[in-house]
């Protein structure tokens, strides 16, 4: 058991159907390690996605759920392996966002196999004073 990542599930179905024709081999799916920290502007999320380029990355928000799926370019397990500590596979992870994340202004950047997502806090609406009148 040289593999430290948690295998969420191994499935061929997870592969997007557009270019699955050339790869009949089942693709492995991993849960990438992440960091989340708070800044003055909101939250920042980092995820390790080695082997994933911008075209292979799919970031989706539906309702309050942020899902990231990273498809690695080459999925073929190498031949003639002498020493193996990791397997090649895709990455999938999803998060529940709190209501104060401004969904419209989420930005993401992928660099050297690391994804950085900025989740700005929605600006609070100013408290409004309601005049109360008497009869």
């Amino acid at each position: 058991m040289s593999d430290q990542r948690e295998i969420v599930r191994a499935t061929a179905a997870a592969a997007s159907d557009s270019n699955a024709a050339d790869e009949s081999a089942p693709r492995l799916l991993f849960n990438p390690p992440i960091d989340i920290y708070e800044t003055a502007e909101g939250l920042v999320l980092y995820a390790d996605l080695p082997g994933v380029n911008a075209e292979g990355l799919d970031l989706q928000i539906q309702d309050n759920r942020l899902a990231l799926f990273g498809r690695v370019k080459t999925v073929a397990q190498p031949e003639g392996i002498v020493h193996e500590e990791y397997k090649v596979g895709d990455f999938l992870r999803s998060f529940i966002l709190s209501d104060d994340v401004d969904h419209e202004h989420i930005s993401a950047r992928l660099n050297n196999g690391v994804l950085r997502v900025e989740l700005p806090r929605a600006s609070r609406t100013e408290p409004r004073r309601i005049e109360v009148s008497t009869e």
Binding site: Q4, D35, V44, G51, I81
Partner: protein
């Protein structure tokens, strides 16, 4: 696990065994996660060369060092946390941070001058050509004095 089964297939011990296996496997995973190696390395043998790949996402090239000496290949570097992140601002921290080093004993002699390395998409690939001419050399035998 089926709750109901026909015939003689009922074997509670096998079920128990399987359950225990499953639990142990789960524990195993969590142990490995706490003491994880970084980066993970694969080595393949492509007849005339070895190819090493390592998953080192998010490292600057300047922070990456690769050396080979006496059949041992060493890669080391530093993975810096984002400058803006304060130690107490993390809500979750699973990614490896800090200085790391991995060494690997190479199985055959390597042409150290012919080594090539490339870093792309967070994966380091090192090509290690084997020294040619390790094929058996015949040694002429001369007749010595009787």
């Amino acid at each position: 696990m089926p709750v109901f089964r026909w015939g003689q297939n009922w074997d509670p011990f096998r079920d128990l065994e399987r359950e225990v296996d499953r639990l142990l496997q789960g524990m195993n995973l969590s142990f490995q996660r706490s003491a994880r190696r970084f980066p993970l390395i694969n080595l393949t043998d492509a007849s005339d060369k070895f190819i090493l790949t390592a998953e080192i996402p998010g490292v600057e090239l300047a922070d990456l060092e690769l050396t080979a000496a006496n059949g041992v290949l060493t890669i080391k570097g530093v993975r810096k946390p984002p400058a803006e992140a304060r130690e107490d601002s993390f809500r979750r921290q699973e990614r490896f941070q800090g200085a790391w080093q991995r060494s690997l004993q190479l199985p055959d002699r390597i042409d150290e001058d012919g080594m090539k390395a490339e870093y792309s998409l967070g994966i380091l690939t090192v090509v290690l050509p084997k020294v040619a001419g390790i094929a058996a050399r015949s040694i002429p035998i001369t007749e010595g004095p009787a």
